[in-house]
Symmetry: C2
Subunit: 267 residues, 2 copies
DNA sequence: CGGGAGGTTGACAATCGTCAATCAGAGTGG
DNA sequence: CCACTCTGATTGACGATTGTCAACCTCCCG
């Protein structure tokens, strides 16, 4: 028996009645996986046929809490989420930002207990898939399994880059670097342009991403703006005036995102 | 055709002649994978039967270089290795330390080009396995595949902890934290005790792990020693006098290592 | 005995955090 | 329509952790 679902509003889906339609809520996940590895029609159909429950979440609502034993794998359908850890003294470190189509806890479903929390940054929706269904499919269909494996490896590559970012870059470079990363990832998810986008987080959260205080984030953003690398008409809107200058300031090289070579974003 | 092997001294192995012996160089890898997921006799035999070439490496020799296209998956048989990234300004960040039995580039074998370098910290030996052999086995034998997948997920969990370590802890906590992590991991690999071990790196490298300068690492170690949390008879030897005090100082909770519950190291 | 790598120490500088006040905008209720 | 409130952004003054520079020491090895 699966444990009871967390509280919230639910929309039941009957995948067998809509799996052939591209309106399935799981469609963004298929698109993301197919980006990493070729999936044939049967692979895609099997993914769309995964039993799932769609749930609407409010801002700040938890998807996974540290030390949970997750029974579901969750796919983010809309909105933004973050992974974070709380360290001694009550400080928080955000170690990943997730957006539409990303599988939010493949990690927690194969491992026993969650080693960190996942929380909504904005309101949004998730699809909950029983964890055994995901692992079963991964081994029944090698193409699907490889795509998922690659997906976890790319996540790990981003973790490594973030270690370098908070470990060895100064505040200005850290901020510039994450602004570049977000530009490319939002564009890939169809949620923004490389030349500008809406930041889905506060300056305090940006501080928790970069290991800085919100005060210093604020000063650094202002300095980047003063030097003409970015523009901000409202606090959350980022316009990248000169990509090359921002990428230089952030020591940014998109290699670690493992984008496909036909991706024109590498400039 | 596989690309030519890098230069170095080689020892050819004939796995079919020794796969039933526990003297196979791949034995430490099997032990590590079996720690994550039950492997039956056939799984173990299939792992030991993987074609491989043993190679001796000197200190500082590279296993993988950033932007390489790796054709082999490497298993560390002896010695220590590190993953690192070079950031602008020539600073280096070490993002992982590896020891006996660990698979050093599952990441780089499924992904195209390496996003970081892997380099020997000490002299040692690796086994090189053609990458298709590894992925083939992972999907032919689900238990092996799951063990490998879990292995990459635990690596990712450690990356996340290191993001939090360099992002949100002060120098004293960072150093204490890595000293605790090394104690447990060295013990698990049978290379040390939880109460003390030989650190396989210089203070400068410890600085590259923690995002500090070697000077500050030195002062911090001295301070930990002055407070009785550790002892050092020689610069590289670490004796942990009071595990609880060191773990407290380092805000250390072994949950993220995903050790088995029967592991007595959790104290 | 000489050379080199790594460890140790001190003086000083700089980045970044802390504290605290103020400001701006969105939503709410009267 | 207008206080009122709350969250997040902005700014300044000051302090502290950590980096930089430079010297010296210690040990190992040829």
């Amino acid at each position: 028996m699966l444990p009871p679902l967390p509280s919230g509003r639910y929309v039941l889906n009957r995948p067998e009645k809509q799996s052939s339609s591209d309106q399935s809520p799981l469609e963004p996940m298929v698109r993301k996986l197919a980006y990493w590895h070729d999936l044939d029609a049967a692979d895609r159909a099997a993914l769309l046929a995964l039993p799932h429950t769609v749930k609407s979440l409010e801002q700040h609502q938890y998807i996974v809490r540290e030390r949970d034993r997750a029974a579901y794998s969750c796919v983010l359908l809309s909105g933004f989420a973050m992974r974070h850890k709380i360290v001694g003294g009550g400080y928080r470190q955000i170690c990943a930002i997730h957006m539409r189509g990303e599988m939010v806890d493949l990690q927690n479903s194969l491992l026993g207990t969650a080693d960190h929390s996942v929380q909504m940054l904005t309101p949004g929706q998730i699809a909950m898939i029983p964890r055994e269904e995901v692992t079963r499919l991964a081994f029944e269909r090698p193409a699907v399994g490889k795509a998922m494996w690659i997906d976890t490896l790319v996540d790990a590559s981003i973790f490594r880059e973030w270690i370098a970012n908070v470990g060895r870059r100064d505040a200005r470079s850290r901020i510039a670097h994450v602004l570049c990363e977000f530009a490319l990832r939002l564009k890939l998810a169809g949620l923004g342009e490389q030349t500008g986008y809406q930041l889905p987080m506060t300056q305090e959260q940006l501080g928790d991403v970069t290991g800085l205080t919100s005060v210093h984030v604020n000063r650094t953003l202002k300095s980047l703006e003063a030097d003409g690398l970015i523009e901000r008409v409202s606090p959350r809107s980022i316009t990248i005036g000169d990509w090359k200058k921002l990428a230089d300031a952030g020591d940014f090289d998109s290699n670690y995102l493992h984008l496909r070579e036909d991706e024109p974003a590498l400039a």
